[in-house]
Symmetry: C2
Subunit: 239 residues, 2 copies
Amino acid sequence: MAQNIYDKADFFEGYSRLHRSVEGAPEWPVLRAMLPKVVGLSIVDLGCGFGWFCRWARAHGAKQVLGLDLSERMLARARAAGSDEAIAYERVDLDELSLPKARFDLAYSSLALHYVSDAARLFATVYQALVPGRFFVFSTEHPIFMAPSNPGWSVDAAGRNVWPLDRYLVEGPRTTDWFTKGVVKHHRTLGTTLNNLIQAGFTIGRVEEFCPTEAQIAARPELAKEVERPMFLLVQARR
Amino acid sequence: MAQNIYDKADFFEGYSRLHRSVEGAPEWPVLRAMLPKVVGLSIVDLGCGFGWFCRWARAHGAKQVLGLDLSERMLARARAAGSDEAIAYERVDLDELSLPKARFDLAYSSLALHYVSDAARLFATVYQALVPGRFFVFSTEHPIFMAPSNPGWSVDAAGRNVWPLDRYLVEGPRTTDWFTKGVVKHHRTLGTTLNNLIQAGFTIGRVEEFCPTEAQIAARPELAKEVERPMFLLVQARR
């Protein structure tokens, strides 16, 4: 069972004010480039949050979108954002997900999989829910970002910003404070994530470690540090 | 053109005394588990060094092995290790490699690819040299190990060994001193390495980030730190 931090009032208020919640995520152009054309597709969004991607997919011609999330608050806001008979929202714990067989053309997930404790189980569930040949595209926190005992910048003797990596090869839960205390994420190495996909039957199509563009850094100078270590891992796989 | 450090006297003497040169590499059991059975196979070894793997493959039933290396000194020692008509050694710069089409069942490389400046070119060359369905198995320095401005351990305020990661997303040459001054390696992110393979036509079969086993740490306590960050990346891919 995954932790439901998004329904905690302090978390929800903080998260709602995040730059990415308001103006979109900097990694979205990379994730978008990994997607197939969504026209006519049946899509499931694992961890849909406020339903932004569900609405985007419908606006770009998707046939049907199923948005799944653990948070009642997020789903309430998603439902309040507009009614569309081709979008359905359901409350689901991704650690207990079941889906019909060969039902979807695209499984999408943005920054939810690091909350899932059993990724191998989830990937097997997603695999059987896809039509053969179709896509699974997701972003997740990068394991380099998630691994450290102390996941914050430090400055070395030469004045450089460095990311103090440790415990990269020690998989398991990581507890941090992010808007609320005791947020639990599940650290897996990049190798484990890819091997879990391959073992579920997927073919790896593309692996991106998010790096801001020069234009993004010019517009938001605080992104400059992001070249030192990747914050997000983005993967396209195919059944 | 790759740098030929292995023919520099100081490097060669230092390298020859390395623990791994004498008693075998700690990542070898993981790499071995990624190999197909070599009985009857035609194999090319990219960066064969002293020819250890060439001899191992022949001892395990390989039909033919072509060992390629840039270093005359390494090749001389490989040739001196014993004559076998089914092993041929050739001096080759991997940055300028050409190979016959569909000639090999296995392309193998141990810790040589980080010296190659144009990995995409090499992967395309290897792909066309393999029989369809056959394997490319390699180890390389992990990009987490190679990226930093200052690639050495530091100790944080809590007394933990941390790896001061920076410049992970800044690809290009990295110059370090290792037995000799000015050793040039070519940093590529893990995503770039995998995407280069996929673009060459390969299917990714397995991705391992080397972690010592408890037995290895018990036998060589200096390996304990290796759980903090991966030193080696090991990949199995298939044409």
